[in-house]
Symmetry: C2
Subunit: 261 residues, 2 copies
């Protein structure tokens, strides 16, 4: 259980949190996260849980009053804890989750991105047509084998079957293209891959039908279609009612045994 | 004229721009900027000019069509050029300026600052009272010798007389304290100093009158009152009508001969 995640010397949110919690509680801590994003992807709402040994349930090191405040004082300012609470029975941050909600932002058509807004926006030099983007995106909705758009993660045994529930584009107040992307789960690099493919349609290089052809081929698309991590932000993870947590975990584990979300 | 600014090996906006322009035009370039901010201060609207030798006025290296686009392609994404135009006669980016407008943002009362919003917000642990902040700030309005709030810049001969036109606080949509600060010009570290002093009143440690006493003492306040660079953003530099540019420069040079703005 004490596997600690270090990606080639990079800082990870999980690693930062485990180190901070271990410092505060003087206990080894293994965090279970709802999902692991690619390096450089943002999150405004991520979920994780830790199991505490029964003997520590009343230990003052784990007293939750002021725990959030103390933890944020230790963490660097690019990681912030919004809320900590006791998890209901059978809660599992990863396996209980019903769906993940990401957004992707693109400044197209050589739009100037003010430096103070650059952190979560990708850029594209050609103009993109919102209607064409939506026509292409709609072809990916529903349950599919997303092998075309999933980067192999080395585990070998993954299923790439996912249920894409929402994939829609609009212009936001800054004039950027703004996508909502919601699925039960995502395989590795999936959002950045489908965004890249849909952009090919949005700029007029291909027709929307091309997306369906790609999907059905189940042949991993070119790495050159992958859009940058910086434009991607996890904004929500949804869980079922407490009474359905155990059932949901069983279903999830039955469906997928691979590493990535 | 070819003095190049390097601050102890730090990147500077001026240095980045001069290097990019020299690469594009194959000419030595000396940028004149409206003001130099402390390291770490942001700007959404800064102004600079360059003089081109008369022999180069028609040189295609200086052709302004597409110049902005090409320049932004060279610059790192934390520096962006919004617009380039031919300056009117007698325009001087620094000496012609009528006034500078800064904003300062503070997340007080242990408010959690989401990492995606952290870049231009300073934090303060105690709650701050907007009315007390405004009562204290109002005492600095008008023309004063701001020696109390100016960090000496080594030139020795500076005047610290400035005319503070606006210094007012409100809560913005994020719940942060948001100050508009406008003056004809600012001496080194001045905004960060007056913000720090006003916070002492806002949190209740001193009464608003204390600000007037400090100002009249003309004794540099403690370095511990200086608020961080990160909360400060230059948002505008205002110039007079073209016909008044020369007169304005003469007035400015008569008033101030020091380095900082």
């Amino acid at each position: 259980m004490m596997e600690r995640v270090f990606l080639a010397g990079r800082r990870t949110i999980q690693g930062e949190l485990e180190a901070a919690l271990e410092g505060m509680t003087r206990n080894p801590v293994a965090l279970v996260v709802a999902g692991r994003t690619d390096a450089g992807v943002h999150a405004t709402h991520a979920v994780a849980h830790v199991d505490i040994p029964e003997r520590d349930h009343d230990a003052k090191e784990w007293d939750l009053a002021n725990f959030t405040y103390r933890l944020n004082r230790i963490l660097a300012d690019d990681v912030r804890i919004h809320n900590i609470s006791l998890a209901p029975a059978n809660f599992h941050a990863r396996f209980s989750a019903l769906r993940r909600h990401y957004v992707y932002k693109i400044a197209d058509n050589q739009q100037l991105v003010p430096p103070l807004k650059r952190i979560d926006v990708a850029t594209w030099y050609r103009p993109l047509d919102v209607d064409r983007m939506n026509a292409a995106s709609a072809r990916l909705l529903g349950e599919h084998d997303f092998t075309t758009f999933c980067k192999p993660n080395g585990s070998g045994s993954s299923s790439a079957i996912r249920r894409l529930e929402v994939f829609s584009w609009r212009r936001d107040a800054d004039g950027y293209l703004y996508a909502d992307v919601i699925a039960d789960a995502f395989c590795y690099s999936m959002v950045r891959n489908i965004v890249g493919a849909v952009v090919c349609v949005g700029e007029g290089r291909f027709e929307p039908e091309w997306i369906s052809t790609l999907l059905e081929e189940r042949k991993r698309v070119s790495e050159s279609l992958v859009f940058p991590a910086r434009g991607l932000t996890l904004v929500d993870v949804e869980y079922p009612a407490d009474s359905e947590l155990l059932e949901r975990s069983k279903t999830t584990i039955g469906l997928r045994t691979e590493f990535a979300e």
